[in-house]
Symmetry: C2
Amino acid sequence: MAKLQLEAFLPYRLNRIAAAVSQDFRSVYGPHHDLTIPEWRVLATLGQFEAMSAKAIGRHSAMHKTKVSRAVRALEERRWLRRRPSEEDRREEILTLTAQGEKAYRQIVPKALAFEHRLLEQLGPDAGPLLAALGRLEAVIKVAGQLEDDRT
Amino acid sequence: MAKLQLEAFLPYRLNRIAAAVSQDFRSVYGPHHDLTIPEWRVLATLGQFEAMSAKAIGRHSAMHKTKVSRAVRALEERRWLRRRPSEEDRREEILTLTAQGEKAYRQIVPKALAFEHRLLEQLGPDAGPLLAALGRLEAVIKVAGQLEDDRT
DNA sequence: CACAGTTGGTCACGAATGTAACTATCCATT
DNA sequence: AATGGATAGTTACATTCGTGACCAACTGTG
């Protein structure tokens, strides 16, 4: 009978690794701020772009619109972001970080970058090729599978 | 303000890629058999090892025991696997695929391998380095983050 | 300028998941 | 052989998530 080694199977390995890395990464923002991954993504996107609609956040962070909607509400209740009606299109709202939100962002970002740096360092000479291969994978995959995602 | 490009951030990229690959992979077993990922993992593990306890399946496929429990029940109701009480330890049950389950396994495995092969082919020269780097990542990560996981 | 189709965002619902509690069994020690 | 702690597996509960329905506002066509 033709066999398949699950532990060597690429989709399985990718998922397992992604889950483990995300789990590890949680230690960066978890203890101090208790964020969910969707919340972290929204925070990161707004920190990166200053002002954006929920739709644009979803596009950039690869999240379903209901996920974005809920994360935005959570961050709003935490007073980390503010909504402002859009002038050009009154269906959408422009979201921006509050001073408090920016403060949290500034606290988390260096830790996140340090985390990533440590990880790449541990990979040693494999780091460069890994990043190259991931870029290739993204290019290959995004053709077919658009839509959303998950962790981190 | 220190910035972080989410789309270039390693944990995010890994998750995004893993999700997209799994989504794509779903087209392999989805249309024909309508399996969930936990079910697929249980099937793959039993196909690989013939007979195993639920606990062992969880260890091998990196799934929480409740996930395994539910997937096993689903496959049992589908008559793809059978339970048999263990002689040595009556707490556990030995699980094996039925003829029907093996048939499905034999149908899916070649498609899964073909899927993986296509993917690696598209990566061209990056394929080898990617696999090497993933191995390294697994080694680095498994030290800390054990436990379970997700898709595929 | 009216109407049809589209789009941003929210909400209700059902499906999937993890935590914690629980049962039954095993094992070690006395 | 009795008791206490560990282990395999299931179940109840709360949380998270995606699908689909929905509302309001936009856009294009006539």
